[in-house]
């Protein structure tokens, strides 16, 4: 189960970045995703949407959630929007339990996301 974490950044379109997350987001792997997104965003100022593909995301604990929030902050500060695609039930449950789904994904809550920043 402890498979580590691999994150890959691609830009299929100029304004869209796709990041696939494969592995566990937890205390031991903290920082990997945030570093990748921060570095790449700096090199692609035109990106308006960052889509995290969570289909291969295994386990996400509280440190993992904290990492997603930091990524969200970085993405919003760069003037882009964060999307969490292909969410597995476990991740959905975590987002629901912690009341962070709307905040993180901005789905149906654009007004709110704007108010945060």
């Amino acid at each position: 189960m402890t498979t580590g974490l691999t994150c890959t950044w691609t830009t299929p379109e100029d304004a869209t970045a796709a990041v696939t997350i494969s592995g566990d987001l937890e205390f031991a792997t903290a920082g990997t995703l945030l570093r990748l997104v921060t570095e790449r965003l700096a090199g692609h100022p035109g990106v308006r949407d960052v889509r995290l593909d969570c289909g291969e995301l295994g386990f996400c604990d509280s440190s993992g959630l904290s990492e997603l929030m930091k990524v969200h902050r970085v993405v919003v500060e760069a003037g882009a929007r964060l999307h969490l695609d292909n969410r597995q039930p476990a991740l959905d449950r975590l987002l629901l339990r912690t009341g962070t789904a709307v905040y993180l994904t901005g789905e149906a809550a654009d007004t709110r996301a704007r108010r945060d920043s």
Partner: protein, 516 residues
Amino acid sequence: MVVDRSGTVRALNEAARALFPAAGFGRPAAGTIADWLAEAHQRGSDEVARGEVGERAFAAHPVPHGEAVTWWLIDETETRSAREALAREQERTAFLSDASAALLGSLNLDRCMEVAARLAAQHLADAALVLAPTTGATFPAVSCVRGGEPTRTRLEIDPDELPGLGEALQGFPPVPSRWLDPGAAPSWVLPEGFGPVGSIVVTPLPGHGVPAGALVLLRRGDRASFSDSEELFARLFAARAGAAMSAARVFALQASITDTLMRELLPPTLEQLGGVEYAGRYRPARDGERIGGDFYDVHSAITAEGEESLAVLGDVCGKGLDAAVLTGKIRTTLRALLPMADDHHRLLDLLNRTLGDNADARYVTLVLASARREGATVRLRVTCAGHPPPLIVRADGRVEEVDSQGSLIGVLPEIESTTAEITLHPGETCLLYTDGIVEAKGGPLGDAMFGEERLEQAVAECANMPADAVVERVQMLASQWIGRGSHDDMAVLAITAPRGQHLAAVGGHGRGRYTA
């Protein structure tokens, strides 16, 4: 120089003649040249012979040819003294390296001083006195006589009685060791029964920015006084001893700071409060650290109405001291917000604003549970803020999840929360836990999570148990599950409606009356 088999000198060159003025052609070698060379020739040695002629050292190389041997003498006075110096230096380096290892073997200041005194007495002098700086009236000191055991004392002295000692103890930069008149040394410098002192050297022990102390070396009257190189060597030793002692001091200081912090951050011992049983258990992520990111507290009622107490269990994301410090902040804030405990949402909202705006997206998830005893039952109001919902164990073994949900605290601009109301009957328990329990990895293959199902199963067996037994059992099962694996912080808190106790007068057996 050529000497034949009978020991007669056959030839001498200029240099040999100068070296052995008595030797000459046709004369016997014995008695006219150096004895060690004559003996080597007598033995018929074909190896290099070494010896002294006057103040100089020579190596004699034999070259046999027929009836005679030619001895080539090579002056190696310089080489020899270099070799001796090298050996001495190697010995000192080895000693210093051993000394460093011995000194750094302990981070205890007393132990460190003992080692320094013993090493100094054995290798540098006949006796040594190590003094540490003090904030009080007496100086911690260790003295040691060569071959003896170090003795620890506290000296009530004026260090200025021994010139240089006062400055050394105040941490002035290392000054050259001072030569002192042994007669002027105060009596407290001398170990008991040491006899007349020949020489004394005071060397400061330089520390890391803080004075580490001073080293006093003593030699008996009949021994040679300290040479320049010995004094230099003593200073090299002092540098190492000082570094070790100051590391030990800094460590002791940090340990005491950590201890003080820990006392404040440790989870409290819980007991019955207002007719409600409470019990908690806590196991930090890193064994050996007693504090971490999980916490719990039970506050007695401070609102005017009724006897409602407030239990809080929470989990700060992260581990170790960083998490513990935030935990302390949250616990203090919650204590201040206690008057708002009748409205959980308002309390959480205020906490959220207090913690908000932290740069590193640190958040806390927690459960608030207000409990009030009503007759034999306990009325609960429970609110989850981004936290796994507590479990209720009914008296018949059914397990329910508390129906409450809310946002985590500390990151979001606005929070939401719903509060659930629950009634606990005697023997029923509400169990609050952190995700360290359900996310504990272990099991037969070491990679499965303890999980909610296993937790529910474990809790189901805890119906009608006292609160303390419930938390003990849950913590024990999770610990067994983990085995030697790693885990996050784990905390559990049980709120239990007490079962009535048998009245002592009824004897405690059979059906009796219960006290409420």
